[in-house]
C-alpha cells in the first residue's frame, strides 16, 4: 500500500506543473426576504505547460465551506421510562455548510493521506480535538447525519464533469437555511490520489436590504428593536380590533 503510494507520488511529480484556474457564477450570495436557496455554478480549467501525462486520469474536487462554529451534540437515553439527554460532546468547530463534489469515486480521487492533510472529506472538515476515538465517532457521525438531512452537508461523488482533462464544471446548491459569512470555495486538482494544485476563492454570503437592517438593529440596538416589535404587535392588535368593529357596527 505504502509502496504503491510512493510509486504514485513519483509518477505524479512531473505533472506538478498543472494548475487550476477557476471561476464562480457568482461571488456574492445576497440573502433577501424572498431568499430560497441558491445554486452556484462552478467552472474552471487546468492550465499546463507539459503535455497531458497519460498514467492516471485527472480528477477535480470542489469544496464549498461556510463559517465554522462550535457545536454541542447531545445523545438521548431512556431513563425512568422517558427519553432524556444524557451524554453531550462539544465539537470544537464544525462548518455550518460543507459541500464536496468530486469527479469520480472517492478512493480514486484522493488518497487518505492527502485527505488528512487537506481536510477534504466531511468528517475531516469537522475539527474535534480531544474526543475519545470510539465515543466521539458516534457523535461526529450523528452531527454529519443530521446536517446531511438538512442539506447543510453534501457529498456528491461524480458530480464534477471533466472534459478532455482540461475543462471542468459543477454546481452546488446552497440551501435556504444559510448562515451569513465568508464561504470558501476550494478546488483541488488530483492525479492518482495525490493533490497537484489547490486554488481558493471566497463567496460572500450576506443579508441585504430589510434583512440586513433588521439583523443589525436586533444586535446593535436590541432595546429599540424589542420596543419596535412590541409597537408592531400592539398596532396590529388594535387595528384588527378596530377593523372588526367597523365591519360589525
Amino acid at each position: 500500500m505504502i509502496r504503491a503510494a510512493l510509486f504514485l507520488l513519483v509518477l505524479a511529480l512531473p505533472a506538478a506543473a498543472e494548475e487550476v484556474i477557476a471561476g464562480l457564477s457568482q461571488n456574492r450570495v445576497s440573502i433577501t426576504t424572498s431568499f430560497d436557496g441558491s445554486e452556484i455554478l462552478i467552472f474552471g480549467a487546468v492550465k499546463r505547460e507539459a503535455p497531458i501525462a497519460p498514467e492516471s486520469p485527472l480528477h477535480v474536487i470542489i469544496t464549498v465551506s461556510g463559517p465554522s462554529e462550535p457545536v454541542t451534540v447531545r445523545r438521548k437515553e431512556r431513563r425512568f421510562g422517558i427519553w432524556i439527554n444524557t451524554d453531550a460532546v462539544e465539537i470544537d468547530a464544525a462548518p455550518t455548510f460543507y459541500a464536496v463534489a468530486t469527479s469520480g469515486p472517492w478512493e480514486e480521487v484522493i488518497s487518505d493521506v492527502e485527505d488528512l492533510r487537506n481536510k477534504v472529506s466531511i468528517p475531516r472538515a469537522i475539527r474535534s480535538v480531544g474526543l475519545g476515538v470510539t465515543e466521539g465517532a458516534d457523535f461526529v457521525e450523528a452531527l454529519i447525519r443530521i446536517r446531511t438531512r438538512q442539506n447543510r452537508y453534501q457529498l456528491q461523488m461524480g458530480a464534477v464533469e471533466v472534459r478532455e482533462s482540461t475543462l471542468f464544471r459543477t454546481s452546488i446548491a446552497l440551501p435556504a437555511n444559510l448562515t451569513e459569512g465568508d464561504y470558501v470555495a476550494r478546488f483541488l486538482l488530483t492525479r492518482g490520489g495525490e493533490v497537484l494544485d489547490i486554488y481558493e476563492t471566497e463567496i460572500d454570503v450576506r443579508k441585504v436590504g430589510l434583512e440586513r437592517f433588521l439583523f443589525n438593529l436586533a444586535h446593535n440596538q436590541p432595546l429599540v428593536y424589542g420596543l419596535m416589535s412590541l409597537a408592531i404587535a400592539i398596532a396590529a392588535g388594535w387595528s384588527a380590533s378596530a377593523v372588526f368593529r367597523l365591519i360589525r357596527f
Binding site: I31, T32, T33, S34, F35, D36, G37, E69, P70, V71, T72, V73, R74, R75, K76, E77, R78, G81, I82, W83, I84, N85, A88, E90, I91, F139, A142, L143, R145, I146, R147, A176, N177, L178, T179, E180, K207, L210, E211, L214, F215, A218, H219, P222, L223, Y225, G226, M228, S229, L230, I232, A233, I234, A236, G237, W238, S239, A240, S241, F244
Partner: protein, 304 residues
Amino acid sequence: MQIYLPIAEVSVNAFLLLGLGGLVGVLSGMFGVGGGFLMTPLLFFIGIPPAVAVATEANQIVASSFSGALAHLRRKTVDLRMGTVLLVGGLIGAALGVQLFNYLRGLGQVDLLVRLSYVIFLGIIGGLMFIESLRAIRRSRSGSGTPTRRKHGIAHALPFKMRFRTSGLYISVIPPVLVGICVGVLAAIMGVGGGFIMVPAMIYLLGMPTKVVVGTSLFQIIFVTGFTTLLHATTNFTVDVVLAVLLLIGGVIGAQVGTRIGTRMKAEQLRIWLAVMVLAVCGKLALDLLLMPSELYSLGNGGH
C-alpha cells in the same frame, strides 16, 4: 411563497405561517388562552430554532391578546383590578423565569424540563377541567341547576383583602399574586402566555365568574408577554420580527373571530373544548417523551 426570516435564518412558507397564526388566533379569542402552548411546538415542528420560537411567540401573543382584550374591554368583561394584581406577580415571575431558563440551558436540560412541565401542567389542568365541566353539563341537563356556590376558601382567610367589584369578590391579594408569579415563570420558560394555567386557576382557586376570567387573563397576558419579549430581545437577540408579523396578521384576525364564537357558546361547552384541546397537546408531548425518538442525537449551540 417562501420567505427568509432574518433572525431565525431559515426560509419558510409565508402562507403556512399566516394559517398557523389564524388557527391559533381563533383559539386565543375563544378561550382566553394566548395559544402559545400550541404555537410554540408547531413552530419547532416547521423548523424554527427553539430559542427563536419561544421569544417570537411571546411577541405574537402580545398582539393577539391585545386584540382579544380590546374586544372584552368593550363588553366590560375585564376585571382591571384583578388584572393589575395578577400582573404584579407576572412581572416578578417573568424575571425569575428568564434566570431559571438560562441556568437550565447551561445544564443542557432545558428541553426536557420544558416538555416535562408541559406534560404535567397540561395533564393535571386538562383532566380537572374535563371532569368538572362534564359534571356541570350533567347537572344542567338533569335540571336541578344548583347555583354556583361561593366557597370560603384560603383566598378569603388570608390578609391583605381587596374588593374586586367586577368579579364580585372580596379576597386576599396573596393567591392572585402567586398565580401571577407562576404564570410569569411559565411565560418566560415555555414561550406561552400562561392562559391555560391562569384561566383554571382563576375559576377554581379564586372563584371568579367564567365570563370575566377570559378578558382578565388576556389583559394580564399582554403585559407579561410584552415584558418577556423585551427580555429575550435584549439578552438573547432571538425575537424575529418578520416571523412575528406573519404570525400576528393571521393571529389578530383569528382572535377577533374567536372572541365572537366564544360569546355565543355556553361557558360549560367552552370549558370542555378547552379541556379536550389541552389533553390532546399533553398526550402528544407525553408520547414524544415515552416513545423512542427516530434521532437519538440533537445539536445545540456550542461554546458555553
